[in-house]
Amino acid sequence: MNTDQKNINELEFNFKQKIIEAFIFASSEPVSYSELKERVNDVNVLDQILKILEKEYSSRGVNFCKINNTYAFRTSSEISEYLNIEKVVSKPLSRAATETLSIIAYHQPVTRSEIENIRGVSLSRGTLDVLLELGWVQPGPRRSTPGNPLTWKTSNLFLDYFGLREINELPGIDDLKNSGLLDKNKIIFNDEPVNDE
Protein backbone atom coordinates (compact mmCIF):
# COMPACT_ATOMS: atom_id res chain seq x y z
CA MET A 1 0.00 0.00 0.00
CA ASN A 2 1.48 3.35 -0.93
CA THR A 3 1.32 6.46 1.19
CA ASP A 4 -1.47 8.13 -0.77
CA GLN A 5 -3.70 5.11 -0.53
CA LYS A 6 -3.01 4.90 3.15
CA ASN A 7 -3.99 8.55 3.63
CA ILE A 8 -7.20 8.06 1.73
CA ASN A 9 -8.12 5.06 3.83
CA GLU A 10 -7.37 6.98 6.96
CA LEU A 11 -9.56 9.87 5.85
CA GLU A 12 -12.39 7.52 5.08
CA PHE A 13 -12.02 5.81 8.40
CA ASN A 14 -12.09 9.13 10.23
CA PHE A 15 -15.15 10.16 8.31
CA LYS A 16 -16.97 6.96 9.22
CA GLN A 17 -16.00 7.39 12.82
CA LYS A 18 -17.51 10.86 12.82
CA ILE A 19 -20.75 9.54 11.39
CA ILE A 20 -21.04 6.84 14.05
CA GLU A 21 -20.22 9.31 16.79
CA ALA A 22 -22.76 11.88 15.58
CA PHE A 23 -25.42 9.28 14.95
CA ILE A 24 -25.27 7.90 18.46
CA PHE A 25 -25.20 11.42 19.90
CA ALA A 26 -28.30 12.53 18.00
CA SER A 27 -30.35 9.40 18.52
CA SER A 28 -33.10 9.53 21.07
CA GLU A 29 -32.37 6.04 22.35
CA PRO A 30 -29.29 3.85 22.66
CA VAL A 31 -28.37 2.55 19.23
CA SER A 32 -28.10 -1.14 18.51
CA TYR A 33 -25.10 -2.76 16.87
CA SER A 34 -27.14 -3.83 13.87
CA GLU A 35 -28.28 -0.26 13.25
CA LEU A 36 -24.69 0.89 13.27
CA LYS A 37 -23.73 -1.89 10.88
CA GLU A 38 -26.12 -0.38 8.35
CA ARG A 39 -24.08 2.83 8.38
CA VAL A 40 -20.68 1.19 8.15
CA ASN A 41 -20.83 -1.91 6.06
CA ASP A 42 -17.54 -3.30 7.20
CA VAL A 43 -17.87 -5.04 10.57
CA ASN A 44 -14.14 -4.87 11.20
CA VAL A 45 -14.12 -1.15 10.66
CA LEU A 46 -17.16 -0.71 12.90
CA ASP A 47 -15.63 -2.73 15.73
CA GLN A 48 -12.48 -0.71 15.45
CA ILE A 49 -14.42 2.57 15.54
CA LEU A 50 -16.39 1.49 18.60
CA LYS A 51 -13.19 0.53 20.38
CA ILE A 52 -11.57 3.87 19.54
CA LEU A 53 -14.62 5.85 20.66
CA GLU A 54 -14.74 3.99 23.93
CA LYS A 55 -11.07 4.71 24.53
CA GLU A 56 -11.20 8.35 23.48
CA TYR A 57 -14.15 9.10 25.72
CA SER A 58 -12.97 7.03 28.68
CA SER A 59 -11.23 9.91 30.42
CA ARG A 60 -13.73 12.58 29.47
CA GLY A 61 -16.70 14.00 31.35
CA VAL A 62 -18.91 12.00 29.01
CA ASN A 63 -18.27 8.31 28.34
CA PHE A 64 -19.07 6.14 25.39
CA CYS A 65 -20.99 3.25 26.92
CA LYS A 66 -21.96 -0.17 25.77
CA ILE A 67 -25.21 -1.19 27.41
CA ASN A 68 -26.22 -4.72 26.51
CA ASN A 69 -25.86 -4.65 22.79
CA THR A 70 -26.53 -0.95 22.40
CA TYR A 71 -24.38 2.16 22.47
CA ALA A 72 -24.92 5.57 24.00
CA PHE A 73 -23.15 8.55 25.50
CA ARG A 74 -23.58 8.90 29.23
CA THR A 75 -22.19 11.30 31.76
CA SER A 76 -19.20 9.72 33.46
CA SER A 77 -20.14 8.22 36.81
CA GLU A 78 -17.57 10.19 38.79
CA ILE A 79 -19.28 13.37 37.57
CA SER A 80 -22.85 12.17 37.81
CA GLU A 81 -22.48 11.50 41.51
CA TYR A 82 -21.21 14.99 41.96
CA LEU A 83 -23.82 16.62 39.74
CA ASN A 84 -26.85 14.72 40.98
CA ILE A 85 -28.38 13.65 37.75
CA GLU A 86 -32.01 12.90 37.51
CA LYS A 87 -34.22 12.23 34.62
CA VAL A 88 -36.21 15.33 34.96
CA VAL A 89 -39.86 15.37 34.21
CA SER A 90 -40.59 18.43 32.25
CA LYS A 91 -44.16 19.44 32.79
CA PRO A 92 -46.27 22.33 31.70
CA LEU A 93 -47.11 25.01 34.19
CA SER A 94 -50.78 24.83 35.17
CA ARG A 95 -53.17 27.16 33.46
CA ALA A 96 -53.94 28.94 36.70
CA ALA A 97 -50.26 29.51 37.37
CA THR A 98 -49.58 30.72 33.84
CA GLU A 99 -52.50 33.14 34.00
CA THR A 100 -51.47 34.40 37.41
CA LEU A 101 -47.89 34.87 36.27
CA SER A 102 -48.95 36.80 33.20
CA ILE A 103 -51.20 39.07 35.26
CA ILE A 104 -48.41 39.75 37.74
CA ALA A 105 -46.07 40.46 34.85
CA TYR A 106 -48.40 42.95 33.19
CA HIS A 107 -49.99 44.59 36.23
CA GLN A 108 -47.20 44.59 38.79
CA PRO A 109 -47.16 45.45 41.55
CA VAL A 110 -50.51 43.78 41.99
CA THR A 111 -52.37 42.48 45.02
CA ARG A 112 -53.87 39.08 45.39
CA SER A 113 -57.42 40.38 45.23
CA GLU A 114 -56.62 42.35 42.09
CA ILE A 115 -55.35 39.17 40.46
CA GLU A 116 -58.56 37.42 41.48
CA ASN A 117 -60.54 40.27 40.07
CA ILE A 118 -58.86 40.11 36.70
CA ARG A 119 -59.09 36.35 36.42
CA GLY A 120 -62.61 36.28 37.79
CA VAL A 121 -61.83 33.28 40.02
CA SER A 122 -60.24 33.03 43.41
CA LEU A 123 -56.58 32.22 43.63
CA SER A 124 -55.85 28.88 45.22
CA ARG A 125 -53.04 28.69 47.73
CA GLY A 126 -50.78 26.50 45.65
CA THR A 127 -50.75 28.70 42.59
CA LEU A 128 -48.67 31.52 44.01
CA ASP A 129 -46.53 28.96 45.82
CA VAL A 130 -45.50 27.35 42.55
CA LEU A 131 -44.47 30.71 41.15
CA LEU A 132 -42.62 31.61 44.34
CA GLU A 133 -40.81 28.29 44.33
CA LEU A 134 -39.73 28.85 40.77
CA GLY A 135 -38.42 32.19 41.88
CA TRP A 136 -40.33 34.01 39.17
CA VAL A 137 -42.37 36.24 41.47
CA GLN A 138 -41.52 38.07 44.66
CA PRO A 139 -43.34 40.28 47.13
CA GLY A 140 -43.53 43.94 46.26
CA PRO A 141 -44.33 46.96 48.42
CA ARG A 142 -47.51 46.95 50.49
CA ARG A 143 -50.41 49.03 49.27
CA SER A 144 -51.32 52.04 51.30
CA THR A 145 -55.00 51.13 51.06
CA PRO A 146 -56.94 49.77 54.07
CA GLY A 147 -55.48 46.51 55.30
CA ASN A 148 -52.16 47.29 53.61
CA PRO A 149 -52.32 44.30 51.29
CA LEU A 150 -49.09 42.81 49.98
CA THR A 151 -48.37 43.23 46.29
CA TRP A 152 -46.57 40.86 43.96
CA LYS A 153 -44.07 41.55 41.21
CA THR A 154 -41.79 39.57 38.94
CA SER A 155 -38.16 38.83 39.81
CA ASN A 156 -34.90 39.18 37.93
CA LEU A 157 -34.98 35.42 37.46
CA PHE A 158 -38.22 35.89 35.57
CA LEU A 159 -36.57 38.40 33.24
CA ASP A 160 -33.59 36.08 32.80
CA TYR A 161 -35.75 33.08 32.05
CA PHE A 162 -37.73 34.88 29.38
CA GLY A 163 -34.72 36.67 27.96
CA LEU A 164 -35.96 40.16 28.79
CA ARG A 165 -33.76 42.96 29.96
CA GLU A 166 -36.49 44.92 31.66
CA ILE A 167 -40.14 44.47 32.26
CA ASN A 168 -41.28 47.04 29.75
CA GLU A 169 -39.87 44.87 26.98
CA LEU A 170 -43.00 42.78 27.34
CA PRO A 171 -45.16 43.45 24.30
CA GLY A 172 -48.09 45.69 25.17
CA ILE A 173 -51.71 45.17 24.28
CA ASP A 174 -51.32 47.01 20.99
CA ASP A 175 -48.32 44.89 20.07
CA LEU A 176 -50.31 41.78 20.91
CA LYS A 177 -53.18 42.88 18.76
CA ASN A 178 -50.91 43.65 15.88
CA SER A 179 -49.11 40.38 15.99
CA GLY A 180 -52.40 38.54 15.86
CA LEU A 181 -52.11 37.21 19.37
CA LEU A 182 -55.29 38.85 20.45
CA ASP A 183 -57.90 37.45 18.20
CA LYS A 184 -60.57 39.44 19.80
CA ASN A 185 -62.90 39.85 16.95
CA LYS A 186 -64.93 36.91 15.99
CA ILE A 187 -65.54 37.09 12.32
CA ILE A 188 -68.74 35.67 11.09
CA PHE A 189 -70.01 34.84 7.67
CA ASN A 190 -66.70 34.45 6.11
CA ASP A 191 -66.23 31.91 3.39
CA GLU A 192 -62.48 32.06 3.11
CA PRO A 193 -59.57 32.50 5.46
CA VAL A 194 -58.83 36.17 5.97
CA ASN A 195 -55.21 36.91 5.29
CA ASP A 196 -55.01 40.55 5.98
CA GLU A 197 -56.51 43.02 8.28
Binding site: A22, F25, A26, S27, S28, E29, P30, A72, F73, R74, T75, L83, N84, I85, E86, K87, V88, V89, S90, K91, P92, L93, R95, T98, E99, L101, S102, I103, A105, Y106, I118, R119, G120, E133, L134, F162, G163, L164, L170, P171, I173, L176, L181, L182, D183, K184, N185, K186, I187, I188, F189, N190, D191, E192, V194
Partner: protein
Protein backbone atom coordinates in the same frame (compact mmCIF):
# COMPACT_ATOMS: atom_id res chain seq x y z
CA UNK B 1 -40.00 45.10 -28.05
CA UNK B 2 -43.45 46.51 -27.48
CA UNK B 3 -44.86 43.04 -27.95
CA UNK B 4 -42.59 41.41 -25.50
CA UNK B 5 -43.41 44.03 -22.92
CA UNK B 6 -47.11 43.52 -23.32
CA UNK B 7 -46.72 39.85 -22.96
CA UNK B 8 -44.87 40.23 -19.74
CA UNK B 9 -47.39 42.64 -18.42
CA UNK B 10 -50.03 40.04 -19.11
CA UNK B 11 -48.15 37.33 -17.35
CA UNK B 12 -47.65 39.56 -14.37
CA UNK B 13 -51.25 40.61 -14.29
CA UNK B 14 -52.34 37.06 -13.71
CA UNK B 15 -50.72 36.96 -10.36
CA UNK B 16 -50.92 40.24 -8.52
CA UNK B 17 -51.45 38.19 -5.39
CA UNK B 18 -47.88 36.99 -5.73
CA UNK B 19 -46.49 40.42 -5.03
CA UNK B 20 -45.81 41.43 -1.51
CA UNK B 21 -46.65 45.05 -2.05
CA UNK B 22 -45.87 47.75 -4.58
CA UNK B 23 -42.11 47.88 -3.99
CA UNK B 24 -41.93 44.19 -4.58
CA UNK B 25 -43.80 44.70 -7.82
CA UNK B 26 -41.47 47.51 -8.85
CA UNK B 27 -38.51 45.33 -8.06
CA UNK B 28 -39.73 42.47 -10.16
CA UNK B 29 -40.58 44.83 -13.03
CA UNK B 30 -37.03 46.09 -12.85
CA UNK B 31 -35.74 42.52 -12.81
CA UNK B 32 -37.94 41.31 -15.63
CA UNK B 33 -36.79 44.09 -17.86
CA UNK B 34 -33.25 43.52 -16.81
CA UNK B 35 -32.93 47.01 -15.47
CA UNK B 36 -29.76 47.35 -13.51
CA UNK B 37 -30.80 48.79 -10.19
CA UNK B 38 -27.68 50.92 -10.13
CA UNK B 39 -28.52 52.46 -13.48
CA UNK B 40 -32.20 52.64 -12.84
CA UNK B 41 -34.34 54.88 -14.96
CA UNK B 42 -37.09 55.98 -12.64
CA UNK B 43 -39.02 57.36 -15.57
CA UNK B 44 -39.03 54.05 -17.40
CA UNK B 45 -39.93 52.15 -14.29
CA UNK B 46 -42.74 54.53 -13.42
CA UNK B 47 -44.17 54.06 -16.90
CA UNK B 48 -44.05 50.30 -16.57
CA UNK B 49 -45.66 50.35 -13.18
CA UNK B 50 -48.46 52.60 -14.40
CA UNK B 51 -48.99 50.52 -17.51
CA UNK B 52 -49.18 47.44 -15.36
CA UNK B 53 -51.64 49.12 -13.03
CA UNK B 54 -53.82 50.25 -15.94
CA UNK B 55 -53.95 46.72 -17.13
CA UNK B 56 -54.87 45.38 -13.74
CA UNK B 57 -57.55 47.97 -13.13
CA UNK B 58 -59.33 46.90 -16.28
CA UNK B 59 -59.51 43.36 -15.05
CA UNK B 60 -59.84 43.70 -11.35
CA UNK B 61 -61.02 46.94 -9.87
CA UNK B 62 -60.47 45.64 -6.38
CA UNK B 63 -56.81 46.43 -6.10
CA UNK B 64 -55.15 47.06 -2.81
CA UNK B 65 -55.04 50.75 -2.08
CA UNK B 66 -51.31 50.68 -1.57
CA UNK B 67 -50.76 49.78 -5.20
CA UNK B 68 -52.81 52.79 -6.22
CA UNK B 69 -51.09 55.11 -3.77
CA UNK B 70 -47.73 54.14 -5.15
CA UNK B 71 -49.14 54.49 -8.65
CA UNK B 72 -50.34 58.01 -7.96
CA UNK B 73 -47.02 58.84 -6.43
CA UNK B 74 -45.13 57.51 -9.45
CA UNK B 75 -47.42 59.40 -11.82
CA UNK B 76 -46.59 62.54 -9.91
CA UNK B 77 -42.90 61.78 -10.11
CA UNK B 78 -43.15 61.00 -13.79
CA UNK B 79 -44.85 64.31 -14.54
CA UNK B 80 -42.16 66.12 -12.60
CA UNK B 81 -39.48 64.30 -14.55
CA UNK B 82 -41.10 65.13 -17.88
CA UNK B 83 -41.70 68.79 -17.19
CA UNK B 84 -38.88 71.22 -17.80
CA UNK B 85 -37.09 71.91 -14.60
CA UNK B 86 -37.66 75.43 -13.40
CA UNK B 87 -35.29 75.79 -10.54
CA UNK B 88 -32.54 73.93 -8.78
CA UNK B 89 -34.57 73.24 -5.71
CA UNK B 90 -37.10 71.37 -7.74
CA UNK B 91 -34.42 69.32 -9.39
CA UNK B 92 -32.92 68.41 -6.07
CA UNK B 93 -36.29 67.33 -4.81
CA UNK B 94 -36.86 65.01 -7.71
CA UNK B 95 -33.40 63.57 -7.46
CA UNK B 96 -33.94 62.98 -3.78
CA UNK B 97 -37.19 61.17 -4.35
CA UNK B 98 -35.73 59.03 -7.10
CA UNK B 99 -32.80 58.18 -4.92
CA UNK B 100 -35.02 57.16 -2.04
CA UNK B 101 -37.14 54.97 -4.26
CA UNK B 102 -34.02 53.36 -5.61
CA UNK B 103 -32.78 52.84 -2.07
CA UNK B 104 -36.01 51.16 -1.05
CA UNK B 105 -35.85 48.79 -3.97
CA UNK B 106 -32.22 47.92 -3.34
CA UNK B 107 -32.95 47.38 0.31
CA UNK B 108 -35.83 45.04 -0.40
CA UNK B 109 -33.69 43.21 -2.92
CA UNK B 110 -31.04 42.91 -0.23
CA UNK B 111 -33.55 41.45 2.20
CA UNK B 112 -34.79 38.94 -0.35
CA UNK B 113 -31.22 37.98 -1.17
CA UNK B 114 -30.19 37.34 2.43
CA UNK B 115 -33.47 35.49 3.09
CA UNK B 116 -32.33 32.95 0.54
CA UNK B 117 -28.82 32.80 1.99
CA UNK B 118 -30.24 32.31 5.45
CA UNK B 119 -32.50 29.44 4.53
CA UNK B 120 -29.76 27.85 2.44
CA UNK B 121 -27.79 27.34 5.61
CA UNK B 122 -27.65 24.05 7.44
CA UNK B 123 -30.57 23.90 9.82
CA UNK B 124 -30.87 22.33 13.24
CA UNK B 125 -32.92 19.17 13.14
CA UNK B 126 -32.40 18.80 9.41
CA UNK B 127 -28.69 19.02 8.76
CA UNK B 128 -27.22 18.95 12.21
CA UNK B 129 -28.62 17.69 15.47
CA UNK B 130 -28.75 18.17 19.17
CA UNK B 131 -28.30 15.51 21.80
CA UNK B 132 -31.19 13.17 21.14
CA UNK B 133 -31.16 11.57 24.55
CA UNK B 134 -30.39 14.32 27.00
CA UNK B 135 -29.77 13.87 30.68
CA UNK B 136 -30.64 16.66 33.01
CA UNK B 137 -28.70 17.77 36.01
CA UNK B 138 -30.87 18.87 38.70
CA UNK B 139 -29.82 20.64 41.75
CA UNK B 140 -32.96 21.07 43.75
CA UNK B 141 -36.26 20.35 42.15
CA UNK B 142 -37.39 17.37 40.18
CA UNK B 143 -39.65 19.25 37.89
CA UNK B 144 -38.73 21.52 35.13
CA UNK B 145 -41.36 23.75 33.71
CA UNK B 146 -41.24 24.68 30.12
CA UNK B 147 -43.08 27.91 29.68
CA UNK B 148 -42.14 30.07 26.74
CA UNK B 149 -42.55 33.79 26.42
CA UNK B 150 -45.05 33.02 23.69
CA UNK B 151 -47.21 30.99 26.12
CA UNK B 152 -47.07 33.76 28.67
CA UNK B 153 -48.03 36.50 26.27
CA UNK B 154 -50.75 34.46 24.66
CA UNK B 155 -52.24 33.59 28.01
CA UNK B 156 -52.37 37.22 29.02
CA UNK B 157 -53.87 38.06 25.67
CA UNK B 158 -56.71 35.63 26.18
CA UNK B 159 -57.44 36.98 29.67
CA UNK B 160 -57.66 40.50 28.31
CA UNK B 161 -59.81 39.36 25.47
CA UNK B 162 -62.17 37.52 27.77
CA UNK B 163 -62.55 40.53 30.03
CA UNK B 164 -63.17 43.01 27.29
CA UNK B 165 -66.09 41.01 26.08
CA UNK B 166 -66.64 39.85 22.60
CA UNK B 167 -67.24 41.90 19.54
CA UNK B 168 -68.57 40.31 16.49
CA UNK B 169 -67.51 41.65 13.18
CA UNK B 170 -69.42 40.80 10.12
CA UNK B 171 -66.86 39.99 7.56
CA UNK B 172 -66.73 41.83 4.36
CA UNK B 173 -68.30 39.28 2.12
CA UNK B 174 -67.40 39.59 -1.45
CA UNK B 175 -70.79 39.10 -2.96
CA UNK B 176 -71.54 40.50 -6.35
CA UNK B 177 -74.38 42.97 -5.95
CA UNK B 178 -77.36 43.21 -8.30
CA UNK B 179 -76.64 46.91 -8.70
CA UNK B 180 -73.20 46.15 -10.02
CA UNK B 181 -74.57 43.47 -12.31
CA UNK B 182 -77.13 45.95 -13.69
CA UNK B 183 -74.43 48.47 -14.52
CA UNK B 184 -72.26 45.81 -16.06
CA UNK B 185 -75.02 44.35 -18.20
CA UNK B 186 -76.09 47.74 -19.50
CA UNK B 187 -72.53 48.64 -20.31
CA UNK B 188 -71.77 45.46 -22.21
CA UNK B 189 -75.14 45.17 -23.96
CA UNK B 190 -74.68 48.65 -25.36
CA UNK B 191 -71.90 47.35 -27.59
CA UNK B 192 -73.45 43.97 -28.38
CA UNK B 193 -75.33 43.38 -31.57
CA UNK B 194 -76.07 39.73 -31.17
CA UNK B 195 -77.51 37.15 -28.80
CA UNK B 196 -75.04 36.49 -26.09
CA UNK B 197 -74.87 33.80 -23.42
CA UNK B 198 -75.63 35.06 -19.92
CA UNK B 199 -72.56 33.20 -18.67
CA UNK B 200 -70.37 35.35 -20.89
CA UNK B 201 -71.36 38.45 -18.97
CA UNK B 202 -69.96 37.22 -15.71
CA UNK B 203 -66.52 38.59 -14.88
CA UNK B 204 -63.84 36.02 -15.55
CA UNK B 205 -61.41 36.93 -12.85
CA UNK B 206 -63.42 35.93 -9.82
CA UNK B 207 -61.51 33.26 -7.99
CA UNK B 208 -63.74 32.82 -4.99
CA UNK B 209 -66.43 30.28 -5.68
CA UNK B 210 -69.10 31.89 -3.53
CA UNK B 211 -68.49 35.22 -5.17
CA UNK B 212 -68.69 33.56 -8.56
CA UNK B 213 -72.05 31.99 -7.74
CA UNK B 214 -73.36 35.28 -6.43
CA UNK B 215 -72.24 36.97 -9.65
CA UNK B 216 -74.23 34.46 -11.68
CA UNK B 217 -77.32 34.98 -9.52
CA UNK B 218 -77.01 38.76 -9.60
CA UNK B 219 -76.54 38.85 -13.34
CA UNK B 220 -79.59 36.69 -13.82
CA UNK B 221 -81.71 38.88 -11.57
CA UNK B 222 -80.34 41.96 -13.29
CA UNK B 223 -81.25 40.56 -16.70
CA UNK B 224 -84.84 39.97 -15.52
CA UNK B 225 -84.98 43.50 -14.22
CA UNK B 226 -83.74 44.87 -17.52
CA UNK B 227 -86.25 42.73 -19.42
CA UNK B 228 -89.04 44.08 -17.21
CA UNK B 229 -87.94 47.59 -18.02
CA UNK B 230 -87.94 46.62 -21.67
CA UNK B 231 -84.23 47.17 -22.24
CA UNK B 232 -83.31 43.63 -23.03
CA UNK B 233 -84.56 40.44 -24.67
CA UNK B 234 -84.11 37.11 -22.96
CA UNK B 235 -84.29 33.80 -24.75
CA UNK B 236 -83.97 30.22 -23.67
CA UNK B 237 -84.84 27.76 -26.38
CA UNK B 238 -85.43 24.80 -24.11
CA UNK B 239 -84.98 23.73 -20.54
CA UNK B 240 -81.30 23.50 -19.59
CA UNK B 241 -80.35 25.41 -22.70
CA UNK B 242 -78.23 28.52 -22.57
CA UNK B 243 -79.90 31.70 -21.49
CA UNK B 244 -79.30 34.28 -24.18
CA UNK B 245 -79.52 38.03 -23.91
CA UNK B 246 -79.62 40.73 -26.55
CA UNK B 247 -80.27 44.41 -26.42
CA UNK B 248 -83.78 45.47 -27.27
CA UNK B 249 -82.87 47.56 -30.27
CA UNK B 250 -81.87 44.60 -32.41
CA UNK B 251 -84.63 42.35 -33.55
CA UNK B 252 -83.80 38.94 -34.82
Amino acid sequence: MENIQNQQVNILSLSLDGFEGPIDLLLSLARDHKIDLTKLSILKLAEQYLEFLDNIINKDIDIAAEYLVMGAWLAFLKSKLLLPIENDENLENIENLSELLEFQMKRLEGVQHVSKLLFNRHQLGTHFFKNGNPEVFNVSNKFQYNLTLYDLIKTYGSIVTKNEGETITIANTKLFSVENALIRLKQILKDTNDWKNLLDFIPKNIKNELENKSALASHFVASLELAKEGDVNIRQDSFKDEILLSSKNINN
